[in-house]
């Protein structure tokens, strides 16, 4: 096991595949926002302040359909409830003495992908460090915000002449999640993964993708509790 604490630059390096996945999605968000009648500044503020992909796209749909502000806000907040689990799970993996003095800063960037990447880093033997979290979070956040701005400025059609590139970029996040799953795969985790996957499929097909994700996470974590 490598006992060297992970550095800021290593965090930035780890964020590269996340950034490559975030940029085209954020670009698409910028395009969609301007097409839906939002100004470039409004698209920028939504990405800068909300910083949660799927819920931002839903925000466009809700606001253009005339949903009341509080209803829209409640819906979007509920979508991101799963993030409550990430901090404690990360600190549990980081161990007893892990510093959290600067968590008020780096926790802002604790998205699905950043959480997964940090967990994978520790699963591969690296020690947790807040500098690493800042590097990892900054790379991903910069890609998200800059992608939105470029998308809002460019407008639609920028990748229409390159469908294969667009398709490949669209697979970047599924590929990243799969690679992260492989990086933390252990025999003990197999029942957890199986239950989480099954419940996600059932919840998505029966109710909604959001219900599937939240149900899958909770069911998988509970499977980890009941295993002997």
């Amino acid at each position: 096991m490598d006992e060297t604490p992970s550095t800021f630059s290593r965090g930035l390096l780890t964020s590269v595949p996340i950034a490559l996945g975030y940029f085209p999605i954020a670009f698409a968000f910028g395009v969609a926002a301007t097409k839906a009648g939002f100004s470039g500044a409004e698209a920028f503020v939504l990405s800068l302040v909300i910083y949660a992909g799927a819920s931002q796209f839903l925000a466009l749909a809700l606001m253009t359909s005339g949903a009341p502000l509080l209803v829209a806000a409640f819906t979007l907040v509920a979508m991101n409830l799963r993030h409550v689990l990430y901090g404690p799970a990360l600190m549990k993996a980081a161990g007893e003495g892990a510093s959290r003095h600067l968590a008020w800063g780096w926790a802002w960037g604790l998205t699905d992908e950043v959480f997964g990447a940090a967990l994978g880093e520790m699963a591969r033997g690296r020690r947790f460090s807040e500098r690493y979290m800042f590097g990892l979070g900054l790379g991903a956040y910069a890609a998200w915000v800059s992608g939105t701005v470029v998308g809002a400025v460019a407008g639609g059609g920028a990748l229409q002449g390159w469908p294969a590139v667009e398709a490949g970029l669209g697979f970047m996040l599924p590929a990243l999640f799969l690679a992260l799953l492989l990086s933390i795969l252990t025999r003990a985790a197999v029942p957890v993964i199986a239950v989480a996957g099954l419940v996600t499929v059932c919840g998505t097909l029966a109710v909604s993708p959001t219900a599937g994700i939240l149900g899958g996470m909770v069911a998988g974590a509970l499977a980890g509790v009941v295993r002997t």
Partner: protein, 106 residues
């Protein structure tokens, strides 16, 4: 800048921040390392459960009519992971395999 857009961004952004930082600030998860309690097991299982959930949720929409690119993308990730044990390489290679097969089958 419309006021309702700014208000929505602030409400949701604040909630996201509370979700992400609140449990860490409250020291949830602290003192659980190596513990045998159900909370320790729950937290230890949350990571694999979350990532497995996100794999399934992100792949499901791609499992439509033409599965060739998806199969190639997944195979690319698996092969490169087995070969190099690198998350970065497996991710980039999987995405490239997906795009290549998409181009060929289009």
């Amino acid at each position: 800048m419309r006021v309702e857009v700014l208000a929505l961004a602030l409400i949701v952004g604040l909630a996201n921040y509370v979700f992400r930082y609140g449990p860490i600030g409250a020291r949830l998860g602290a003192g659980q390392a190596g513990g045998a309690g159900w909370i320790a097991r729950f937290l230890a299982a949350t990571g694999p459960a979350a990532i497995a959930t996100l794999v399934v949720a992100s792949v499901l929409p791609l499992a439509g009519a033409d599965r060739g690119p998806l199969v190639a993308g997944v195979a690319g990730v698996l092969a490169l992971w087995v070969w190099r044990r690198s998350v970065v390489l497996a991710t980039l290679g999987g995405a490239a395999a997906y795009g290549l097969v998409f181009a060929v089958s289009a």
